[in-house]
């Protein structure tokens, strides 16, 4: 056992014993993560030529539910609507945050695209829309013209991040990553 006694004198074993007793015991309570970029809510504001307006919401907070709540859109036939879209983060209901301002600030990196079922609604640009550095409309504000017949369908709104093209007829044409893909049902009444 003499060899053990000799070894205890060596610095390495002192280092050892110090390290062995350096153990943390309790962890602090972790902070709740503040998720800044989350989009929970898509709001469409539709104003017709007479100035009558309606607001519809698509809302999904994954922390609370895995089902989205969606308001239907009810439109009159043969009418032009000015439609503006807003994206919000309402994961903390007491402190809703708007994401739309960030999108306007990074207009070159974003694009809104609408895809309708059927062909009862035709989409066109609005003079009050936000444009990017190359004058491409973002479709944050757009004009929807309804057809003459009663019908129903669905509109899908996409928010595309870093699109590879700023124009196109289908989602594929734009490339980029889908940040929002939310469906609203619509009805056109006579």
């Amino acid at each position: 056992m003499k060899s053990i006694l000799l070894l205890i004198r060596k610095p390495i074993f002192i280092v050892f014993s110090i390290l062995i007793f350096q153990i943390s015991c309790e962890k602090e309570m972790p902070e709740l993560v503040n998720e800044e970029e989350v989009i929970t809510t898509v709001v469409l504001n539709l104003i017709d030529e007479t100035g009558a307006s309606q607001s519809v919401r698509w809302f999904l907070n994954p922390a609370v539910s895995n089902q989205a709540s969606v308001d239907p859109i009810v439109l009159k036939a043969n009418t032009k609507y000015t439609v503006s879209v807003n994206f919000l983060n309402e994961s903390d209901p007491t402190n809703p945050q708007t994401i739309t301002a960030d999108i306007v600030a990074e207009a070159d990196d974003h694009q809104v695209f609408y895809e309708f079922t059927g062909n009862a609604i035709s989409l066109s640009t609005s003079s009050s829309d936000t444009v990017d550095s190359e004058n491409n409309p973002l479709y944050l504000t757009s004009i929807w013209s309804t057809g003459t017949e009663a019908s129903s369908g669905q509109v899908r709104i996409y928010l595309i991040h870093l699109p590879t093209s700023k124009s196109g007829q289908s989602r594929t044409d734009f490339g980029g990553e889908t940040d929002v893909s939310a469906d609203f049902p619509f009805q056109i009444r006579l």
């Binding site: 390290l19 350096q22 962890k27 989350v38 922390a63 059927g118 939310a182």
Partner: protein, 794 residues
Amino acid sequence: MFFFIAQSLSGQQCGFTLSGKITDLHDGTPIVDALVMTNQEGKFAQSDEDGNYFIRNLCAGKITLQISHVACETQTKSIALNSHFYFNIDLEHHINSLDEIVVVDHRKKELSESVQQFQIEGADMERSSGESLATALERISGVSTLKTGNAIAKPIIHGMFGSRVGIVNNGIRLQDQEWGADHAPSLDINAFESIQLIKGAAALKYGGDTAGGTILLSPFSIPVKDTLYGRSLMNAATNGRGGNVATQLTRAYVSGFFMKFQGSYQQFGDFHAPDYELLNTGLKAANLSMRLGLHRFNSGWEIGFSRYQNTQGILRASHIGNLEDLLNALEAPVPLRTAPFSYAIGAPKQEGFHQNLYASGYFRLTTTTKINLDYSFQTNNRQEFDIRRSGLSDLPAIDMMLKTHSWNASIAWKEGMNWSFEAGLNAVLQDNFSDPATGVKRLIPDYLKYQAGSYFVSTYKPNNQLAVNAGIRLDVQLWDAQKYYNRSDWLDQGYDQDYAQSVVLDLSSQLLANIEKRFLTTAAHAGLLLISKEKEISNRFSYVHTQRAPNASELFSDGLHHSLATVEYGNLRLNKEISHKLIFDVGRDKNTFRWNIAPYFAYTTDFIFIAPQGLIQTVRGAFPVWKYEATDTRIFGGDTSIEWQFNKHFRLTNDTAYIHAQDLNSQTPLISIPPFNSKTQLVAVTPNQKWEWRLSHLWVAQQHRFPDDRFDFPLLVNGQIQTQQIDLSTPPKGYQLFSMDISIFLGKLHSKNFIVRMMGNNIFNTAYIDYLNRLRYYSFEKGRNFHLQLIFNY
């Protein structure tokens, strides 16, 4: 020089001669000046220049031999002598070194003798010097790699990866969040002399939870003499237009004291597939390590420090928003984002930073009893950067710091001539911290993990033809995790029923739960090695029992994978995974035609895997959900290797592997199992041994056994909602690749002072897709690559 001392003894049964040759276990070279002592008085001999020894005038009976050499571990053998006898002895020889590593190596050998071992060293280590650990291991039959893109790779052994494969760095398990499939081991292979692979879990010393196998990385052994030497190497490759430099310098003294410094730096730009550049696939890595120690026969110590840092770009086109984006990527003939070559690495990317500080010591109580103590402190920081809005791309989306303290204490001793034992204790304390500043829900929660283990292994080796070994291990693991759950997920999983008492904080949308879990695991292994009399055929048979507690990802994972467009959930209800594995191995290790066949069979209950659970609604549209589940599995397969030495100049080798893996509960194949593959190599050496050519062919078949996870998905096509079937599970077609390798040895032949090597991979620029690449939906694999390697020993 050869001499012997013999005295003649009177008696009828005396006068026999024992002779033979003593050779190096590793390369068969003769060992000079080894001392062979017998239990008969005055009967001993020393080996001559050819390794031969003669002991004359021995009397009949049981003779015990003790074979010792200054640079080898002493061996004892016993034989029954009743005639003249020719007896060859293999010694484990490490030139001029007496350091701890020899002894560790030797013990590993004993521990796992009944399971075939594979070693990558020397020229193959050099060839791999520009590669990752996983790529280097692909040289071994039965090893494949699981990739995420082109450079992030981890080894798959017998169809198993991640937590089922242990990586041991200098005697201590590497703790680097190995559970993540999209994360390569945090180390640089240039810091190691050899890589040893033990299939199955025979290395009980290092853990009892690695059903796939254990990879042992051994640092360079240090000679005991006054010397200063170094080695520098450089690799330059055309694909990626980059390479690495690595250098090391060693100062050793005859007193046993030494210092070693090693450093390397690697950089690549975008790699290219046959027809396009792979945007944002560049990488940078730097490694630095220092060792300082005193190695003597009776005692020794070593302290060391290493740091490894890397930045790894991830194919830009693989960062997508939802399943439709993935479908568009699948249908596109080229990645949706390509750009001219660049060295820039932007988001998405991974940054890793691993540090290891260790101290170890050993001393002998007697010449046959040795005590080892090790301590290591590892920190592993992993950051992942996603493409984010409002300048947040510079802020990591995942930022985890894993700190691990490990302590090992072991004692190894010998009883009599034939028995050797080792017993040990180890303890691990691990602390994970996920930084909330990321602004993204934590993928892995904050936790503390305590682990304690003990093991006992023994070997019985009565002669050179038989070895039996057995071992057991017991571990206890405690988890103390604090995790925020979405209220909806908590309710969906039914955790409000089973884990209600764990809730410590109840916010409106989230719950903070303090989850405590305890797992008790055991492991055992028993093996037999039989070598035929002519020492030509060896048979190994082993049974390995392992139990593995679920890892952090399997228990707690909670997040979205951008590149796979999936949401992944852990499962608190998982039990430990229990596996039984039989490995049989028969081969001929000598002669001009060497071969080896190794079939295996593994049955696992509560095998943890991730399975699709349907779709959930998100703001990005419907998303497939994957959740960790348990099932029973059966895996069997076989690895074969053949080496045919035609003559001094030509050699042909082949390595082939096949795996069949089945989920027994659902009666479907398991996912991500390597397809049948076969590697053939022709090696030619010039008469002066200064030139060496290698031509390799790799054939990887299509995997026809896969779980069919096709699902229906509503898509909006031309103004109509259509249900379309999405197929992300069908494996890609098989492929064949050709590689070439020319080595030129300059300088003195045996010292190989200067080596130039030219290598060409995928020389026909074949466009192929690898089933085991998690980003296979986005691009082809790397195209042709020419590679120049310079090695300078001084």
